[in-house]
Symmetry: D3
Subunit: 306 residues, 6 copies
C-alpha cells in the first residue's frame, strides 16, 4: 500500500433508482396499499400488546406487573389499569373503525360516539369474561396431571393465554370492531401456535393442552367442558363461491362440537359437521362427517413395513 488513495469506485452505489422503482411499483401493481396508505394511522401493534397486558392484569390480578396486592390495594390497581387500558383501547378502536371508513377522521363525529359506546359495552362484558376464564383455569388444572396447582396454569400455560386472548377478541368481534380482534388472536397465535378465529363461540371450562398447531375456524361452535390437544384442526371443508366465483363470506362452514368432547392430538375435523356430546376423537383422525353423542373415533392402525 503506497499511500495513494485507492480507487473506491466500487465502494458506493446509488439507491435513488431503487427508491423510485419501489415507489412506482407501489402505485402500479395494485390497489392494496393505495386505499388507506395516505390517510390515517393503522392500529398500533405495540399499543394493542400493552392493552392485552393490562386486561390480563385486571382479569388475573396479581399474576403480572404488581404481584403483591391485597384487598385494599387491588381496587386501586384494577381501577388505574382499567382506566389506562380503556383510554388506549378507545384510540385503537377508533383507528380500526376509520380503517374501514372513508370520511375524514377529524370530522368523523359519529364514529367518535360509536367508539365510545363500543368501548363501554366491551368493558361491561369483562366481568363475564372473567367468570368464563375462571372456569377455563379450573379445567386446565383438572385436565393436566402435570399441573401442580391452578395458579401454575394461569402463569405458564399457553392454552390459558390463548383462551384469554380469544375471549377478549370474541367480545370485540361481537361488537363488530374490525381488525383488532384478529390482531389479538394473532398475538396469541404467534406466542402459542394456537390459532383461534375471534368469531368462534366457545363454552365454559375449555382447555387446550400444549396447543401448538391448533386451528379453530370462524364459525365453530364449541360446547362446555371440551378439551383439545396440539395439532387439532376444526376447519372448513370447502369454500362456497357465488355466481361470480368469489368466496361467499360468513357462511357457517366449521364444526359444531358438543359438550364434554375430547379431541386428541393432530385430529382434523372439517366442515359443518356435528360431534355429539361426550365423544372422544382420537389422535391424527381425519373426519369430515358428523358423529353421534358418545362416539369413539380413532385412526386406521399403523403397521410394520417390510
Amino acid at each position: 500500500m503506497d499511500g495513494r488513495r485507492p480507487d473506491t469506485s466500487v465502494r458506493e452505489f446509488e439507491i435513488t433508482p431503487i427508491v423510485e422503482a419501489l415507489c412506482a411499483a407501489s402505485e402500479g401493481i395494485a390497489s392494496w396499499n393505495a386505499n388507506h396508505g395516505g390517510r390515517q394511522a393503522l392500529p398500533s401493534r405495540e399499543e394493542v400488546a400493552r392493552i392485552l397486558d393490562d386486561l390480563r392484569s385486571v382479569l388475573f390480578p396479581g399474576y403480572s406487573g404488581v404481584s403483591d396486592l391485597n384487598d385494599e390495594t387491588m381496587h386501586f390497581h384494577v381501577g388505574a389499569v382499567l382506566d389506562r387500558a380503556q383510554r388506549s383501547l378507545r384510540e385503537q378502536i377508533q383507528r380500526a373503525f376509520c380503517f374501514h371508513c372513508t370520511l375524514d377522521p377529524a370530522y368523523c363525529v359519529g364514529c367518535h360516539d360509536h367508539t365510545l359506546e363500543t368501548t363501554h359495552r366491551f368493558l361491561q362484558r369483562l366481568p363475564r369474561v372473567r367468570h368464563l376464564l375462571a372456569t377455563d383455569v379450573i379445567a386446565a388444572f383438572e385436565g393436566d396431571p402435570a399441573a401442580s396447582c391452578a395458579e401454575e396454569t394461569v402463569f405458564c400455560y399457553p392454552g390459558v393465554l390463548a383462551i384469554t386472548n380469544h375471549r377478549i377478541a370474541h367480545e370485540l368481534h361481537q361488537l363488530e370492531v374490525p381488525l383488532l380482534p384478529r390482531m389479538i388472536s394473532e398475538s396469541a397465535h404467534a406466542r402459542t401456535g394456537i390459532d383461534v378465529h375471534p368469531g368462534a363461540r366457545i363454552g365454559e371450562k375449555f382447555f387446550i393442552d400444549h396447543g401448538t398447531g391448533v386451528v379453530i375456524g370462524e364459525t365453530c361452535e364449541i360446547g362446555d367442558r371440551v378439551r383439545i390437544y396440539q395439532g387439532v384442526t376444526l376447519g372448513a371443508k370447502s369454500f362456497p363461491r357465488d355466481a361470480q366465483g368469489n368466496l361467499t363470506k360468513g357462511i357457517p362452514r366449521h364444526p359444531i362440537i358438543g359438550d364434554d368432547v375430547v379431541i386428541y392430538a393432530g385430529a382434523t375435523i372439517l366442515g359443518r359437521v356435528t360431534i355429539g356430546s361426550g365423544s372422544v376423537i382420537g389422535g391424527n383422525v381425519w373426519l369430515t362427517h358428523s358423529v353421534p353423542p358418545r362416539s369413539r373415533i380413532s385412526q386406521a392402525r399403523a403397521w410394520e413395513s417390510k
Copy 2:
C-alpha cells in the same frame, strides 16, 4: 356547526362499577387467585429470560453478547456472567419456593439456606449440561444436510435452543424447584413450538429438526442418539384417576424411546410403551403399543379419491 358546545353526555362513562365487579368476581368465584395474590412476588418472566440468556452465553461462549472472546478474556466473561446469573437465579428460586410455601418470606430462614444450596448444586451441574449440549450440537450438524457448519446450528436452530432450555430446566426440576422449570420450557415452547416437559429424561446427541408441534411428556425416557422431527408427540394415553376421581399425578405414563431411534414428522406415540433401539417410526404414525428393536413402522397408505 354553530359554535355551541355539543352534548357530550355520551362521551364519558363510569368505570367504577366495572372495577367493583371485577374485584368482587375475583373474590367470589374461586380460590385460584386468593391463595397467593396478596402475599409476595411471583418469579419474574423478564428476569428468567435474562438468566437464560446469561446461561446460554456461558454454555456457548462467543455466540451471544460479546462475541470476540479470546482465551484471556473468556474467564472474565464467563465468571462475570455466571456471577450475575447465579445472583438473579437465587432470587427467582426463592420466589418459586415461596410460591408453594405459607411461611412469611421475611422470616423464612430455612428457605433461604435451601435456596442457596439449590442454586449451588445447579451451578455445579452446568459443566455436565455443557458436555451434553456439545453432543447435541454435533448431532444437529450431522443430522441436517442443510447445515453448513456446527456453529450455524448453535446460532440458528430452534432445536438447539429447545434442548438447551430443556437441559437447564431438567436440572432445576431434578432439584425440585417449583415453577421455574416450567417457565423455562414454556419460554422455548413459545419461541420454537417445541414443548418438552422439564421432567423428561433425554440422552446424548439428541436432535429435533424443524420442531414445531413437538410434544414430549413429563415421564418420557429417551436414549442416546435419538432424532425426531416436527409434529411428533410422545404423550400419555390416558390419565389414571384415584378412588375420588382425581388425576393421579406423577405416574409413569409416557413412552420410553431406546437408543438410535428416528421418529418422523407428525408421528404420535402414546402411553408407557417402549420403542426398541434402532427403530424408525414413520411420519404421521399413530402408535399406542410397544415395538421391538429395529422396527420400521409406517402409516397406512393414502389412496386416490374417486
Copy 3:
C-alpha cells in the same frame, strides 16, 4: 435471636471452580466453539430484526412505523429507510462472509468489495420481490373467506409475514450470503411456526393459511398459485451419504409442486416427487410418490373403535 451474627457458612459458595470447568470444557470437547469464538463478531440478531422491519416498511409502505404517508412523503421515507437498511445490511453481510472466512477482517479488502456488490445486487432485486409479494397478498385475500380486505392480510396474516421473510431470505441465499438467510427464515419460523428453507423456489400468488407447523425444504420447487395449510411438510425422505458415510449436501431431495395445487392441513409429502399441476392433497395424507396433474389424494378413512 440473640444479636450474635448467625453462622453464614452455608450462605456463600465459590463460583471459580465452575467457571474453570466451563472454560476447560469449552476447550476440551470439540472444535465447534474454538474456530470462530476468538475472532470477530457474529451477525447480530437484533440488527437483522431491525433490517427486516425496515425492508418490510419499504415493501409495504404505510403498514408499519409511519403510517400516514402520501405521495410526497413516501419518497423521503422509502429513501431514508432503505438507506439505513442497506448500511446495516452491509455490516451484517460482511460479518456473515467473515464467519466463513479465515483472513483477518481488518485486512480483508476483497471481502469488503464483495460485500458492497452483494448488497447492491440484493437491493436491485427488491422491486421484483415487491411485485411477487403483491401477488401473494392478493392470493391471501382471495384464498381466505374470513379476510375482510387485502390490507388485513398484510397487517395480520402470519402467512404473509412468512412469505415476505422468505422472499428476502431467498434473494440473499441466491447471492450465496451465508448465515443471514437462515437467520431471516428462523425469525419468521419463531413468530409464525412456518419453517421455509431459504433455498426453496416459490412462484407467484403463494398462500399459507394458519401455517403453524408448515415445513418447506431446501430444494423444493413450488409453482404459481399454490395454497397450503397448517402442518404441511414438504420434506426429504432420506439423506444420501457418500462413501465415508457423511451426508451429501445440496442434492435435490424435496418435492416439486406444480401450479394451482392445494395441500390441506397436516399432509406430509417426502422426497424428490412431483405433484402434478391442479392436484388437491387432502389433510393428514402421507405421500412419498409422484402423482399426475389434477390428482385428488386423501387419507385412509377413520373408523369407530369398538
Copy 4:
C-alpha cells in the same frame, strides 16, 4: 426462632387514608390543578425531546443519528426526519393550544386549522434558523482558542446547543404557541445551565462560552457578534405592578445589548438599560445603568484582607 409465625402487625399499613387526603387536598387548596387536570393531555416532554433531536438533525445533518450522509441520501433523510418531526410537532402544538383553551378539543375545528397553519409557518422559517445557526457555529469556533475545528463546536459545545434550542423556541414564541417554547428552553437549561427566555431577540454570530448560570430575560434585545461567558445575567431590575398590585406582564424590562459586545463571567446587567456597541463588560460586574458604545466596565478591585 421456634417456627411460630411472628407477629406481623407492624408490617403492613393502610394507604387509603393518605390517598384520600391527597385527593382531598388537591380539590381543597387551589385552582391550580383543577382547571385543566380532567380535560386533556398536556404536551409530552418525551415527544418534545424527540422533536428537538429531529430538528437538530435536519439543521446539522450528519451530526447525530445517521452520520454518513452523502448528497444523494441527505435529501431522503432530511425529508423523512422533517416529516416525522412536523407530524409530531402538530400534535404537540395542538395540545399546547388546547391547554389555554376551554372548548372541547374533539370539536375544536378552528384550533385544528390554526395548528396546521402554525406548524407550516414554523417549518418555513427553518432555513432562516439554519442560516443563523451557521453564523453561531463560526462565532463559537472563532471565539474559543480551545476549539480545534468548527465541527467540534457543533458536536460538543453547550453554548451551541443552547442557541439552537433558543432559535427554535423563539420562532414558536413569535408564532404565539403557548408552553412549548418554554419547554424547549428549559430542555437546554437543564442540559447546559444556560437559561434563555424564548422571547429574547438575538442577532447573528452569538456565542456563549461555558455558559453555566447564564440567564437572558424575556425582553432582551441582543445585537450581532455578541459573546458572553458563564454566569452572566441579563435580567429585570424590578417588576412594575398595576393598580391592583399584580405584576404587569410583557413590559420591556431587560437590557438592550449593541453589536460586538463582550460580557465576561458573572456580570449582572439589570433593567431596560442599553450597552453600547463595542463595549466590554468585565467579570462579576453589577450594572444597572446604560453605558455608551465602546465602554470598558470592570469590577471594584479586590484587596487583601488583614
Copy 5:
C-alpha cells in the same frame, strides 16, 4: 497486499495485568471501598428516580404520566401510584439503613420493622408536603412576570422541581434515613443546577427563579415568602474543627433568612448570620454579617476602566 497474513503482534494486548493492578489498588489504598463493597446492594439511582416521578405524580396529579384524570379516576391513579411508590421506597430505605449497618440484612429483623414504620411516617407527611408545594406554585406564578399561568410553573419551572425534591428529601432527612435524601437533592441539582441540602428548613411560598448555581446549606433556616435568584449561595463561612483537627459535623453554620426576604442573583451570604425579615439583598453581594429587618444591601458600584 500479497495475501499473506500480516503481522498482527501489535493488534492485541493483555488486560490481565491491568485488571490485577486495579483489583490490587482497590485493596491497598484505602478503606473507602472495602467496608461495604462485598456486602449488599446500594440504593438504586434508577429506582429512586422512578419513586420521585411517582411521588410527583401524586403530589401534582395530571401533570405527568396519565394526564386526563377526572374525579372518578383520580383515586384509582393516586392509589395505584402511591402503592407502587411506597413498595419501592421501602426497599430503598432498607438498603439505605443497611448501608450504615453491619448486621447481615437477611437476619436484620429490627431493621425491617424500622423501615416499615419510617415509610409509613413518610407517607403520612405527604398531604402536608402537598400543601406546602401548592403555596410554592402560587409563589412562582406571582413572582415571575413571564409566567402565563400557575400550571406552567408546575410543568416547566426548574425552581418548582427543585423545591418539590427538597420537600420530599427533607421529610426523609427528618426521619433520619441515610443516603436517600442526598440522592434526591442531587437528582434535582443535576437537572436544575440548584443544590439544596436536605437538612435546610424552608417556609411556605418559597420561590427560586432560574436557579442555576443556587446553594443552600444544611443548617439554613428560611422563613415564609422568600424569593431567591440564580447563583445565590447561603453557605458556611468556616468549618469548626475539634481538638483532633477533624471537622465538627452538624453544628449550625448557615444563614437564617427571615420572612419576605428577596435575594438577587449571585449574592453570597455566609455563616450563621440572620437576614432580617423584609430585607432585599442585591445581586453579587458578599455578606458575612447579620442585617436587621427591612435592610437594602447592594454591591459596590462598578466603574469604567481607563
Copy 6:
C-alpha cells in the same frame, strides 16, 4: 354538520420546498458540515456514556451495576467490564482519529495500529487514575462537614463525578486523542455544571464542593490539596492573536494554583497568574494578578443602599 366533506385544503402542506431549502443551505453557507458529513461515523455520545459508566465501575467497584462483589467475583467483573470498555473505546478512538483524518478509514491501516496502541496506553494509566481518585474521595469526605462517610461522596457528590471524568479525559488528552476528551468533560459539565477542560493539570486530593458554574481552563495547573467551591472561574484574560488576527491556540493563558489553596464561591481568577501555595481566595473575588503564598484575598465590602 350536513355530512358533506369539509374543505380540507388548509389541512395539508408540502414539505419538499423546505427540505430543498435546508439541503441547499447546508451546501451554500459554509464548509462546516461538508468536510466530514459524507464520510464516516462520528463518535457516539451514547457509546461514550456507556464507556464512562464502565470505567467508573472498574475504578470504584461496587458502586454501580453489580454492587455485592466479593474478592472472588471482583476479578471477574473488573475483567469483563474492562474488556467491554476497551473494545468500545477502541472503536470510538478510531472514529475520533478519522474525524481529523482524510484517508479512507477502510484502508487506514496505520490509524488502526495507532488506535490500538493508544487504547493500550490509556488502560495502563488506569491504576494511576484510580490512585488519584482515591485521594480525591478522601479530600471530599474531609472537606465537607455534611458528608457522613467517604462512600457517600463517591455515590452522590457531583464534584467526585466531575473529577473522575476529568482524570479520564485528561489521560486521553495527553495521548492526543481528538474530540473524545471534550465529549467526556462535557458529559460531566451537563450533569454537574462543572466545566473542566481536559487539558488542565490537577494534583492529588482535589475537591470541588457543590460545583455548579465552576470553569477550569485548558492550560490551568493546579497543585495538591486544592479545594474550590461553586461558581469559581479559572479562566483566560485575553486571547492573543497572530498577525492575521486569528487566535493563537495552545498558549498558556490560565492560572497556576499552588498547593493547599482554597477558592470560595464565585471567585474569578483570570490570566496566567500564580496563586501562591496556602492562599485563601474569598467568594466573588475578581482577580487578574498573581498573589504570594498564604495570601488572604476577599471582595470589596457591600454596603447598605440609601
